[in-house]
Subunit: 179 residues, 2 copies
């Protein structure tokens, strides 16, 4: 099972690809997609869209997870971030991948064990959990964290045996089983 | 020259396709892409992405224009609208279409002649300018308005004769010639 995690942003979108074999997690790849702030918005969204598409083509993930973004104090920034996230999700769903969504809180809880973790703690735990040789940048580490969060969320489901598609979609979306 | 106009929204995305022959404008098609509020966000963005892609396949526009959205009083709504717009733009740029952006003010000025026009006035003028037999809904009318705005903006460029791609991109982006 190959899982792609995405940490969306207009300037920098982080990505992380991990492998899950039983309860073991392994690192495959991670990095960032950067856009040029000097180009117009459609051009920047195109870079994000095509970058994510290339990652999907290269690593062939079985599923994807993306971080939910929070509302910025600056409404214009919120609008730009929303558009970047829309481009990344579009690229994933265009290839019929199922896309789960997790809040930063859920990711920190899954990776570090509590929701108040700093970015550096997420980096450290990602390196440890995936037995990485080096430390990824914060955006790539966050994306790997989203992928780990999704891998752990699927663990809970495995306990229930075979699940109906509807239930699986529900639980993947919320990060935990509902009802 | 076939121009596609888009009025983006998460619940309803309006589209309008017009033809420009010299200074004459003609109506080709318009309508809306609706998403089911009961489905999750990635599924709704997929409907928008695939809907726009189908319109592009069906009508083969030479260029596209999309309305700039304003920041909502509700930040969460701003974030959702941003993602919907990101999905629509992704679908356009994925097919290598050039995408121009216009504010609602620019569209109203181009269609009605002043920026304080009501939605009904935009509908009326769109019907008159395109000699339509019936009245489109407000979302479709807004999308046709965006296409008309883009058609008029290109008129200004035609006066200058052949333009370098960079200059053309600049003027298309801003809706008027700069410098």
């Amino acid at each position: 099972m190959i899982i792609l995690g995405i940490d969306p942003g207009l300037r920098t979108t982080g990505f992380g690809v991990i492998e899950k074999n039983g309860s073991k997690l392994g690192y495959i790849a991670s990095g960032t997609i950067s856009t040029d702030a000097a180009t117009d918005l459609p051009a920047r969204l195109k870079v994000i869209f095509q970058g994510v598409a290339e990652i999907v083509r290269t690593y062939g993930p079985d599923c994807a997870a993306i971080e939910k973004v929070f509302v910025n104090v600056n409404p214009q920034s919120t609008l730009l971030l929303g558009q970047a996230r829309g481009a990344a999700i579009s690229s994933l769903v265009a290839t019929d991948l199922l896309v789960a969504e997790y809040t930063a809180l859920q990711v920190k809880q899954a990776v570090v064990g509590h929701g108040k973790a700093q970015k550096e703690q997420v980096q450290e735990m990602v390196v440890r959990l995936l037995q990485m040789g080096g430390t990824p940048g914060t955006d790539a580490a966050d994306a790997l964290g989203v992928a780990i969060c999704h891998a752990n969320s699927r663990d809970a489901l495995a306990l229930l045996g075979t699940l109906a598609p509807g239930l699986r979609g529900l639980s993947m979306k919320r990060g935990r089983l509902i009802g």
